[in-house]
């Protein structure tokens, strides 16, 4: 249907398209600038206030990063924590979500109530720290992997999804002689692949981005993941971090360009999985919005 548009309406559209376009570009421009800086010469970074295409490509920032083992090591640690963490988290979450999705399970409601309660109340930072400490997890990678292995919100969403799978499908497998574990592995999991993919990515992003656990539990800076090293390099150089020790492996203070290269190292893995994430997270959020 066509109708005559008023001047005000046209003006609004112009403003609307422009404003949203500008806002959206602020979401990506800082990354493009940092990417450009990471490939620039120090001179260009100092001379030009803002640019996204360097005049002269320089790899010195990346050479600097690889001149000491600290950052490559932190990068590998982050990759390890992300892969191991996401696998462990999915194991814990799926094995708990499946039994809880069975309405006939004796004791299910009590468990669900106790689990949901952790959404509104928790022990807090210090008691959790003391538990990790008394388990002997300080400076062990377990401290980064295990405490966050179940996100209650993810658990409840996956449980709700399992509940939607028709019980008849599982029953027929059981009649054909499949064990309960077999039914879970051969019927339920294959039906849940999109959900599994989504939440594996969610967990992976969470582990990759986590710096609080290593800040709390890792005093040995040889075991720091990328996020914590990045915090130190960028913010400490800015005088923003007090009381932290700078890794003695770097004799020179970091160059402006190399800070940018570290930021790129921390961001690129997320941007690589982002297209896959985007395909699913909207759905993930909507499943979560349905009460169950």
């Amino acid at each position: 249907m066509k109708y005559k548009r008023s001047l005000l309406s046209v003006l609004f559209d112009v403003f609307n398209y422009t404003f949203l376009g500008l806002f959206a570009s602020t979401a990506i421009l800082p990354f493009l600038y940092v990417l450009a800086c990471s490939f620039s010469t120090e001179k260009e970074i100092v001379e030009r206030p803002f640019y996204i295409i360097p005049r002269k490509i320089s790899l010195s920032a990346y050479e600097y990063i690889f001149s000491s083992p600290t950052l490559p090591r932190a990068f590998l640690i982050s990759i390890f924590v992300t892969l191991a963490g996401a696998s462990i988290a999915m194991f814990f979450t799926l094995t708990l979500a499946y039994p809880l999705s069975k309405k006939y399970l004796v004791g299910r409601n009590v468990l669900l109530a106790l689990i949901s309660f952790t959404l509104v109340f928790g022990g807090g930072m210090i008691p959790t720290f003391l538990v990790i400490k008394s388990l002997g997890f300080l400076n062990k990678f377990w401290a980064l992997l295990l405490p966050g292995a179940i996100s209650t919100w993810n658990l409840l969403v996956i449980k709700n999804f399992f509940q939607e799978i028709p019980q008849e499908m599982e029953d027929s497998a059981r009649v054909d002689g499949c064990s309960a574990i077999g039914t879970f592995l051969k019927i339920v999991l294959p039906l849940s692949m999109p959900v599994i993919a989504t939440f594996t990515l969610f967990y992976a992003v969470g582990y990759w981005n986590d710096y609080r656990s290593s800040l709390l539990y890792m005093t040995d800076n040889k075991k720091w993941p990328l996020q914590l090293v990045l915090r130190q390099i960028v913010l400490m150089a800015a005088g923003n971090v007090d009381g932290a020790t700078f890794d003695e492996a770097y004799t020179q203070p970091p160059l402006e360009g190399s800070k940018n290269a570290v930021i790129i190292f921390g961001t690129v893995p997320i941007l690589l999985v982002y297209p896959f994430l985007q395909k699913h997270f909207v759905k993930g959020i909507m499943i979560g919005a349905i009460k169950g």
């Binding site: 376009g21 022990g123 930072m125 295990l146 990045l230």
Partner: protein, 312 residues
């Protein structure tokens, strides 16, 4: 054996049979339940050290009980007023600026008729949600430090000195709110856009025939259709008024803005982890947790009171 006993025995036998039938389901529960016991419920029990004088040599059990001493210390400490004020101020700003932002943006996106443009905008604005606070703090530093992009443009436009965005008390709150808006506004639109996509297009057609212009359509059709989502999210947000997000504020705080940047979460870390006052900082954390739980339940009650579904 009388009848009632027999029935009870039969019942417990029936329960046992069902449990035996589902034995594998119960075995599957074990890792997850252990996880909750160790990492969620054991710390809750550990909160008891807030009422003790925890001493690492004596251990958890032998440390002496002191009742509410740490709470009394905290409430009489001049830090308390400052922490409460800082926490509430940041929350308040986040509420009045950060909360409406995704609503407004969803409404603006909803007015875009070119699908490809809308999708591109959405793809871009969701990205920051997935970026860690460390990266965001680093980007903020790159853009806003004294030699950063923003200050260089300001100097070019004629300012003599750089604006100390990162190291001054007057800019701290603005920076925090700005970061939150930049990071979460796009992602926050998802839930509103979903509510908007459920609106029957016939409503708009009918309104056009009746002569309603776009602003009338917005006022009478679009806004009422997301009202309940807005109210629910707003009320639940009130339940988290004492949570400022440790990750963000800890990264952005430094000795020059400490007076306005210290909030409960950061204080617990500084006093507890770096200075080792475990009992006192646990008491601070517990105070925050208890207020939080009261707020959440009252907010939920309020949500139901005004006719929304609430969270539980």
């Amino acid at each position: 054996m009388n009848g009632a006993q027999a029935v009870r025995k039969k019942k417990s036998q029936a329960v046992l049979t069902t449990i035996r039938k589902d034995i594998w389901l119960y075995i599957m529960l074990i890792p997850g339940v252990l996880h909750y016991l160790i990492f969620k419920y054991l710390p809750m029990w550990g909160i008891l050290i807030a009422f003790k004088d925890f001493n690492a040599y004596l251990g958890f059990f032998d440390s002496p009980w002191v009742g509410f001493k740490h709470f009394a210390d905290f409430f009489s400490n001049p830090d308390f007023k400052r922490l409460l004020a800082n926490t509430l101020t940041i929350s308040f700003y986040n509420l009045i600026f950060g909360f409406p932002a995704p609503v407004i943006m969803a409404l603006m996106l909803n007015e875009i008729r070119k699908e490809w443009y809308k999708r591109s905008i959405q793809t871009l604005v969701y990205i920051p949600h997935f970026i860690s606070w460390v990266i965001i703090a680093s980007l903020t530093y790159t853009m806003f430090n004294s030699g950063g992009v923003v200050n260089r443009y300001l100097m070019q436009m004629g300012r003599d000195t750089a604006v100390p965005f990162l190291t001054s008390e007057s800019t701290f709150r603005g920076m925090i709110i700005g970061q939150t808006i930049w990071k979460e506004t796009g992602f926050g639109t998802i839930i509103y856009l979903a509510a908007l996509s459920g609106v029957d297009p016939q409503l708009y057609e009918a309104a056009i025939i009746d002569g309603a212009n776009r602003f009338k359509q917005l006022w009478y059709i679009t806004l009422p259709s997301i009202k309940s989502t807005v109210v629910t999210l707003l009320i639940l947000r009130l339940g988290h008024i004492l949570d400022n997000g440790f990750d963000q504020i800890f990264l952005m705080s430094n000795s020059l803005n400490r007076k306005v940047s210290e909030v409960f979460d950061v204080y617990v870390y500084t006093i507890g982890i770096t200075r080792g006052a475990f009992s006192y900082s646990t008491a601070v954390g517990l105070f925050k947790g208890v207020i939080g739980i009261i707020l959440i339940y009252s907010a939920n009650w309020l949500a139901k009171k005004v006719g929304e579904s609430g969270l539980f």
